[in-house]
Structures are given as C-alpha cells and as structure tokens.
C-alpha cells in the first residue's frame, strides 16, 4: 500500500500540470489518442520480454513518438488536419496493440496493461514513475515561459526563436509521452489520461491564473489518488478505475460548484463568476 501511495502521488504531481497545458491548448483528446497509441509498443515489449517494466516503457515511448510524428507529418503534407490524423493513427495503433497482446494468451497480463496494477508495482516501476515525475517537473520549470508563449501565440515564438521554437512543442509531446508510458504501469494505458485531464479541468473551475490552476490540479490529483486507493482497498475495487472515478466526481462537482464559471454560479443572477467564464472569447 505504501508503494501504491508513493507511486500514485508521483503521478499526481507530474500528470495534472501536463493536463492543464493539454486542456488549455485544446489538445485533451490528443492526450487520449496518444495514450492508445503507445499500446503496440507496450505489447511488443511484452511479447519480447514478458512483463518487463523497462521493455514495455521503452517500447511504448518509441511507438508513441513514432505515431505522433507520423500523424503530424501527415497533417503537414496532406489537406487533412492534425485532429483527424491523430484520430486515425491512434485507432490503427490501438487495434494493432490489442492484436499483438492477444498473441500471448494471458488475460491477466492484458488487464494489467489496460488498467494498471498500482497495488503490485515492483522497484523498477516505482523508479520509473518517480523519475518521470522529476523529469516532468524540472522540464516544465525550465520550459515554462516558451511553453506558455507557444500556447498563446505560436507565431510569436517562431519569430523570436526561429526553427528552435518547434523544440518546445516536441519537448511537450515528449513529456506527455513520458507521463503516459510511466503512468500506465500504475493506472493502465486507458486510465492514465484520467489523472491527467480530470484534475486539470476541475482546477480551471476554481482558479483564474495559470500557476494557481497547476497547483490546484496537483492537489486534486493527490486527493483523487489517495481516496481512490483507500476506496479500492476497502471495497476491493480495481484501483485505476477507482482513482479515475474519484477524480471524475471532483470534476463534476467543480463543473457544478466552481467559482470560475461553474453552473450554479452562472444560474445566480448577481454572481460575478458566471460572467467571467473561460469560454468568453475566441
């Protein structure tokens, strides 16, 4: 249980800030797509080395990166947009991943890969999760400024930094992938995006400024992980879905009650919160 809490907190510190940027850049569904896209890599690692944390992590990262590059390139050289290329390629990758996994007849391993096994993590998995959290936080601290500029006005960053400005976006995709491939050991490929996106969306209903949103999303992440683990332990539920469900409940409450544009505040005639909703512009 202690391992589970440590690894869960590591995910809760690193994934939600990535989610804040994903949602504010309107890329949350791309995060979802990428989480599916790593599956064939994970499956290949699994086929060659069995339940080896290292092999699955490396495989997932490489294939995820390849899918992202392919999808971006296709969008660049053909008339269809990135949203459509990511949707197409992640489905292909996911189907391929499931086929590869089915070659090895072990339903338990399949469940482990899809939904994670936070309660039985080994040392290597714990090490990978903590390293991913450290890399993510350091990376975000270093690249915070260019990432914010790139999110608001990509052309401006290109103007002042030239081609190297593309590095910011690639680096961000890299951080996203690191979080997805490390997170899947604990929460599974399908549930990792939950702890990334749900606290991020919730935080936007409570805080107006970016820094506040990031801190708040981490807090919500930690609360979700802790309560999810306790719940799954006492009621004997699968841990990944329990954590995601708690994060989801916090998210729905925030949508209803959040001071920054929550539904209840919007219904009150004299409230300020409703008028300054996030969706005002564009």
């Amino acid at each position: 249980m202690r391992r589970a809490i440590i690894s869960g907190v590591a995910i809760a510190i690193s994934a939600p800030p990535i989610g804040v940027f994903l949602t504010l850049r309107r890329m949350s569904l791309m995060g979802e797509a990428m989480s599916h896209a790593i599956l064939p890599g994970v499956a290949l690692g699994y086929l060659f080395a069995g339940i080896s944390v290292t092999a699955m992590t490396i495989g997932g990262f490489l294939i995820g990166f390849a899918v992202a590059v392919l999808a971006s390139l296709t969008a660049h050289i053909t008339p269809i947009k990135e949203e459509a290329t990511f949707a197409s390629f992640h489905l292909i990758a996911f189907a391929l991943g499931i086929i590869l996994l089915s070659l090895q007849h072990s339903p338990e391993d399949l469940l482990h890969i899809l939904f994670g096994s936070i309660l039985t993590l080994n040392n290597m998995a714990l090490f990978i999760l903590i390293s991913a959290a450290i890399i993510t936080i350091c990376g975000l601290l270093i690249l915070f400024r260019p990432l914010v500029i790139d999110s608001i006005d990509t052309e401006f960053l290109y103007l002042v930094e030239g081609r190297s400005s593309h590095f910011t976006y690639i680096f961000f995709l890299g951080l996203l992938l690191i979080n997805l491939v490390s997170g899947f050991h604990a929460l599974g490929t399908l549930m990792t995006v939950g702890i990334m996106v749900l606290p991020a969306v919730s935080a936007q209903f409570w805080k107006k400024d970016l820094f506040g949103m990031i801190i708040f999303s981490i807090l919500i992440g930690i609360i979700s992980v802790y309560s999810g683990l306790i719940l799954s332990y006492h009621l004997d539920l699968p841990a990944g879905p329990a954590i995601t469900l708690i994060a989801g409940m916090i998210c729905i409450s925030s949508i209803l009650l959040g001071k920054q544009g929550g539904i209840i505040w919007q219904l009150m005639p004299s409230s300020r919160g409703g008028k300054l909703s996030q969706k005002d512009s564009e």
């Binding site: 504010l24 260019p146 608001i152 030239g162 005002d280």
Partner: protein, 241 residues
C-alpha cells in the same frame, strides 16, 4: 537602425497553391510602406513569408542589414489563443523576450518599460486582468504594447487599425511616426486609402502579383482618374490586369 529587405522573383502561398507571385524589389532601410490590395490578394501571406512563418514557394528574400529575428510583427487576432489564462501585463511582457529569454528575471528597469508601454496604449487599468475579457480593440492595444517593448528595427503590421477607436488610432499613428523618424523600417497592411495617402510615404499594391510600388503620391495618383473618390477604395480592373 532599420533593416532592408530585398525580394527576388518571389512566389508564395500555401502547399503549392500560389497566392502571390512575381514580387521583385527592395524595401529600403528606414522606409515606411503601406501594403494595399483587395481581400485575398495575399497581403497577410506576404507578411508571414517575410517573417519566415511560411517558406517562399520560389524566389528569395534577402535581409541586408539586421536579421529576421530582429523583427516585430503585429498579427491578426485570430492567431492568438485568448482563452489561455495570462494577464494583459504578462502578454505584453512577451515583448521583452530578447532580454529575458527562457529564464532571466524581469528586472526593475524592464518593469518600468512595461508599465510605460501599457500606459502609452492606455491599458494601465486593465493590466492585471486576463486577456480573455478584452475587446477586439483592447487586444490590439495589448499587441501594440508588446511591439513597443520589442524595440525592433523592422516592424511588420497586419491591419493594425481594424478595431481601434479614434484615440488609439492617434496614439498608434504618433508611434509609427516616431519609429519612422528613428529610422526603423515599417511595412503595414492597411485598407483605408485616404489614411495611406495622408500619412504613409510609400505604397505597395498587390493583387496576386505586384501591381505598383513606389512613392504613395505617384502610386495613388496614377489611378486617381479611375478612383475619383479617395474614401472608397475600389480596384478598377485596369489596375489589376
């Protein structure tokens, strides 16, 4: 302190779809040029190619003094993700990038400059507000503050006046005059031919190719018989052929 830009047989557009071609000529160091042309003529594409966001389909752009990075660009607002939670002051502070880069702090002197720039464009009262509550005109004023802080030798503006009120147009105009006097090179896309005639020394007319380029009075007087009312800028077919 300006930059000069030379175009050689430039053709530009998106993904093999040529929007503007046969551009040859030179934007002189310290010149102040208006770019005119009907909708879809390729004005914005032209600016984007100069700053390097788009690559020319063929031909060359040569920067003779200064380099491309030393350029301030006023984009159309559609490019900006206004829903992102930053304040007016944070947004304008992007203009300090050359001094602060990835990790240097904004020192006292820079803070003062930032306050001054916000004061010039009349946004001091709104500086702590998030950009998503700004009106179109206020957003343009914020972009203008960013350009002031960039302090660049080459300034490219894409319809800078489109939703400014009279007071801000005057502010912007006096800034443009000041920049011109300081020897900066300025290129601006505009629609109001009367404004161009009154204030801007050189004019470049494009419509899928170069139509005319030179001193504003020469360029516009050539067509004065075609267009007797200077307030309504219409393009007679003979100009465009």
């Amino acid at each position: 302190m300006g930059t000069s830009i030379e175009f050689k047989y430039l053709a530009l557009g998106y993904k093999k779809n040529i929007i503007l071609q046969k551009i040859t000529g030179k934007v002189k160091c310290g010149s102040f040029t208006a770019i005119l042309g009907p909708n879809g003529a390729g004005k914005s594409t032209f600016l984007k190619t100069i700053i390097g966001i788009l690559r020319p389909l063929s031909g060359k752009i040569i920067f003779q003094e200064g380099k491309r990075g030393d350029c301030a660009y006023f984009p159309q607002q559609i490019q900006i993700r206004k829903s992102f939670p930053v304040t007016v002051s944070d947004f304008a502070a992007m203009g300090l990038w050359k001094q602060i880069g990835i990790c240097r702090k904004i020192d006292h002197g820079m803070k003062k400059k930032l306050e001054e720039a916000l004061d010039i464009v009349g946004l001091t009262a709104l500086k702590a507000e998030p950009i998503n509550i700004l009106s179109g005109g206020q957003m343009q004023a914020t972009l203008l503050a960013r350009i002031i802080l960039q302090d660049a030798p080459l300034i490219l503006l894409d319809e800078p006046f489109s939703s400014l009120d009279q007071k801000n147009i005057q502010t912007f105009l006096s800034l443009l005059k000041k920049w011109h006097k300081e020897g900066r090179t300025i290129l601006t896309v505009l629609h109001d031919i009367n404004f161009v005639r009154t204030y801007i020394p050189e004019t470049l007319i494009i419509n899928h190719s170069l139509v005319s380029w030179g001193r504003t009075e020469d360029v516009l007087s050539k067509y004065s018989d075609i267009n007797p009312n200077p307030c309504t800028f219409t393009y007679h077919p003979s100009i465009l052929s």
